[in-house]
């Protein structure tokens, strides 16, 4: 598989505080990478780097071989733990927004045939995430799980090169979370997505991911804890996307039936 994202000797520093140091990493197209690590180990910084919300202070990040612009763009989709959907738009209009922005730079709205085409595409995507019956609901009328489904649909209509998930299921209760795991795995397979997911839930990281990265500090100076940054301390390849049920690692795959 080809490399989609590569990190070359990436450092992130705020003043004399080092967050990420010497990160070298290749993420292959079609992989599902879970990022775990203790709080303050640079998980969010790592995600912000890929998002383009901030630029590395040293080193370079390449997407498809070209340096990443330090600004968010439509090639990267994102789902946050909260606030990912727009409260003033219904589900359908939340999903159309991405298409409207691309096709109508001035008004940001589509009319007539273009609008109907966009609506059809958005409806298909909402059906795919299981929101086919809630097209006209506002986010405030939806449960947390439905809002996250909407956020995923909204990101996927743009066909992003890489989908970033920032603790997407952290605020959901366990039953809903299991449903969402099934959904995201199916979407990942059907749409051949590349997913980078930050999570606190180790079990989730191992059940969903094809690769688990643990970010942490390699060294620790008790007198100046901020002077050492985090990097990928464990890089665990689990399986590739074609394997339907990983047979040899029952000890980590907790939920074989539900998730495969």
């Amino acid at each position: 598989m080809s490399t989609l994202l590569s990190f070359r000797d990436v450092w992130v520093e705020y003043g004399d505080r080092i967050i990420i140091e010497k990160l070298n990493l290749d993420i292959e197209a079609g992989s599902f990478v879970s990022i775990v690590g203790p709080s303050g180990a640079g998980k969010s910084s790592f995600l912000r780097l890929i998002l383009g919300q901030e630029a590395p202070s040293r080193g370079s990040i390449l997407l498809d071989g070209t340096p990443l612009a330090p600004e968010c763009g439509p090639d990267r989709g994102v789902v946050f733990q909260r606030y990912s959907v727009f409260p003033h738009l219904s589900a359908l209009r939340n999903t159309i927004l991405g298409m409207e922005c691309a096709q109508a730079p001035l008004s940001g709205r589509l009319f007539g045939a273009a609008r109907r085409a966009a609506q059809d595409e958005a409806t298909a995507m909402l059906n795919a995430v299981g929101l086919g019956h809630s097209l006209d609901l506002y986010p405030a009328q939806m449960s947390g799980g439905m809002q996250q489904r909407l956020a995923i649909a909204q990101a996927l209509v743009k066909r992003p090169r890489v989908l970033l998930l920032d603790e997407p299921f952290g605020a959901l209760d366990p039953g809903i979370r299991a449903d969402m795991h099934v959904l995201i795995r199916n979407l990942w397979r059907e749409y051949s997505l590349t997913i980078v997911m930050v999570t606190h839930d180790i079990r989730e990281a191992f059940t969903l991911g094809t690769r688990v990265l643990a970010l942490d500090k390699r060294r620790h100076d008790p007198h100046a804890p901020h002077r050492f940054g985090a990097t990928a301390v464990y890089d665990i390849p689990l399986r590739n996307r074609d394997e339907t049920a990983p047979a040899n690692n029952d000890d980590i795959t907790v939920d074989v039936i539900r998730n495969n």
């Binding site: 763009g73 990267r76 994102v78 606030y83 990912s84 409260p87 738009l89 922005c101 405030a140 743009k158």
Partner: protein
């Protein structure tokens, strides 16, 4: 049962709300009647009958000099000034507030200026306005705008700037430009707040309107109140003040209704 837990039913709420108002009216009438018992030509606390008589003259009888129905001419002139002032302020609030809230360079450039204008007491500027713009309508409308626009602008800017960062990022990953973030993400979410800001600005707007009319005008609710003060005409002043209160309440209720009607998503329609 603790008082914090005592919910009042709808019918009871109307009754309870009317109670102090009725009580005040009764007290007024009792006191006025007792003063009139002592001095039948008392002007300070006129009886309802006298008020109705004087007001009927202003409402139904054309003025001999101008041929206008004075009460309605006053109302129209005041509402026009208030409407234009509030309209201009609202437009400024939405345009400037949006730009200040969404675009950091604009905020850095114009934020201090808006703050500076906002802290000047507008009445202190009234002489400048009269000197620069004359005593006509422009000066009065300008006073209202200067008085309420900066506060509204800052309110909208703060509201927009406080939108979750995640939303702005998400919009950009959907391909939105700065302009599209402004009109598709920030503007719609600022609209309910704008109506709220208009409701809150109505109070100060009336203050500046009445002040401007009191100082230099020839028609208007504030002008009339200050004019008839010379004759101690409480029988005109009190109904005029009540009329201003009614107008203000109607506007307030209208804005609240519009906000609920136009932006149902902003009013906690939960699942």
């Amino acid at each position: 049962m603790r008082w914090v837990n005592r919910q009042v039913r709808r019918g009871d709420r109307l009754l309870l709300g009317a109670l102090p108002i009725v009580l005040l009216a009764v007290i007024y009438i009792v006191v006025a009647a007792s003063r009139h018992a002592v001095n039948p030509s008392d002007k300070i606390l006129p009886l309802p009958g006298t008020m109705a008589q004087s007001m009927a003259a202003l409402i139904f009888v054309p003025d001999q000099l101008t041929g206008q129905l004075v009460f309605w001419a006053d109302t129209l002139a005041s509402l026009q000034r208030l409407g234009i002032g509030l309209g201009i302020s609202t437009l400024m609030a939405i345009m400037v507030g949006l730009a200040l809230g969404v675009l950091p360079p604009v905020r850095a450039t114009f934020g201090p200026l808006v703050t500076g204008i906002a802290v000047i007491p507008p009445i202190a500027l009234l002489p400048i306005l009269f000197i620069a713009l004359g005593l006509g309508e422009t000066a009065k409308v300008t006073l209202i705008v200067i008085g309420i626009a900066p506060v509204m602008i800052r309110d909208i800017a703060a509201h927009v700037a406080a939108l979750p960062r995640e939303q702005i990022i998400k919009a950009q990953t959907l391909g939105a430009s700065s302009w599209q973030v402004m009109i598709r993400v920030a503007l719609p979410q600022a609209m309910p707040r704008l109506l709220q800001a208009m409701r809150l600005a109505l109070g100060p707007a009336w203050v500046f309107l009445i002040s401007a009319e009191a100082i230099a005008s020839d028609v208007g609710l504030g002008y009339r109140i200050f004019l008839v003060r010379r004759y101690l005409s409480m029988d005109v002043i009190l109904p005029y003040v009540a009329w201003i209160a009614i107008l203000a309440i109607v506007m307030d209720v209208t804005f609240a209704f519009l906000s609920r009607k136009l932006f149902p998503w902003a009013h906690g329609e939960s699942h």
